[in-house]
Symmetry: C2
Subunit: 227 residues, 2 copies
């Protein structure tokens, strides 16, 4: 399903080179529930951006469902990102001048839904993350954890086959965080959604069946969760 081989990512800034990923091999199968942990700056978001087809590696290959992502056209990539993948960004990336509802409706624009269907689907997803009463607020009129939940709702609204979440509970109290994890767990269990989530919190990581540790741009350990 997700097949990374020899993945490297180097940022060049004038004379400096930052090797964010230094040779990552990773295979994630369909329906898996995987956590990725590691120190700040170790390469987790860089890895997620490559897996989410938002960025290209400097070296190595990425096969997604058998297709070489680097050979796909921009249109094919956009299609994968819109239909197959739901991505929760570490820094939310909401549109500041749109309301919560508009932000969550956005991925449905090219999905062939009527405006009424889009509105209803977005509304239901927002209810699911506890923001049914914040639909007309703009991002600046929301708390940090509410913005995070809008980003989560936007990733879920298209019913994607793959959910990639980069620290989705960093701004949430433990109870709200558990409610979000329950959504991901149910999607994985009942709808076979593949879930890949980066987290700093071991309580959150423990919801996954497999836990991968990243350190200095390399995979440090990759084990099944035995809890």
């Amino acid at each position: 399903m997700i097949d990374l081989r020899g993945i490297r990512k180097t940022y060049v800034m004038g004379e400096t080179r930052v090797e964010a990923l230094r040779g990552v091999d990773l295979h994630i199968g369909a329906h898996e529930f995987v956590s990725i942990m590691g120190p700040s700056g170790s390469g987790k978001s860089t890895l997620m951006n490559i897996i989410g087809a938002l960025d290209r590696p400097s070296e190595g290959t990425y096969l997604l469902d058998g297709e070489d992502v680097s050979r796909l056209t921009d249109n094919q990539l956009a299609h994968i990102r819109n239909r197959k993948i739901g991505f929760v960004f570490q820094t939310f990336n909401l549109l500041p001048r749109k309301t919560t509802l508009q932000n969550v409706e956005l991925p449905l624009i090219y999905g062939g839904y009527s405006p009424k269907e889009r509105r209803e689907k977005a509304r239901m997803t927002l209810e699911q993350v506890g923001l049914g009463d914040r639909m007309d607020h703009r991002p600046a009129e929301l708390s940090g954890g509410q913005r995070q939940r809008v980003a989560i709702a936007r990733a879920l609204v298209t019913d994607p086959a793959l959910i990639f979440a980069d620290e989705p509970t960093g701004n949430l109290d433990s109870r709200t965080g558990e409610e979000i994890m329950e959504i991901f767990t149910a999607l994985n269990r009942d709808r076979q959604v593949t879930v890949l989530l980066v987290t700093h919190e071991s309580d959150i990581a423990a919801h996954a069946r497999r836990i991968i540790h990243i350190k200095d741009g390399l995979i440090d350990s990759d084990r099944l969760n035995h809890d």
Copy 2:
């Protein structure tokens, strides 16, 4: 030191009213180390913004060191914010076109330091939070946790008497988070800095001597930490 009485904050959006704070009384003395916890959307950042003199309450009074903050001139308020208070924002608020070093030097501009002194002070603070090798990066060239640490360094660089930190470790792995808490603890213990920090993590809250819980815009509990 920090004296809040009957503090209310209501946001009016057309016909909707959101009562973010609904009558908060709070006294925090000099040299205290206080954690504030509570559910997402309960009013913590709103409270911090009022205490940090970044926002005004709709009702109630705020005395800071005996002075009524609502009666201060804009110049006096700016002076307090620049010299007395170090504020770590939940969403970092870094200047995107400035480097890490420039972002951290910024609060020192009106402090009477020479450019060389400013640079040195900023560099030392960045070393303290583990970012000595990221000084020329712009925010977009940093990881989430690195941006968070730049925001922390910027709050510390002026040697403030009061540190207000809104979820300073949300994007940090536990070890880096502990390093940051060690900085705050040392400032409180050795330099009598008053520390007020909002957090969702009880391990982080446990570093404080007093833990306040906020719920629905009101103080729900306020106890000494008996660990």
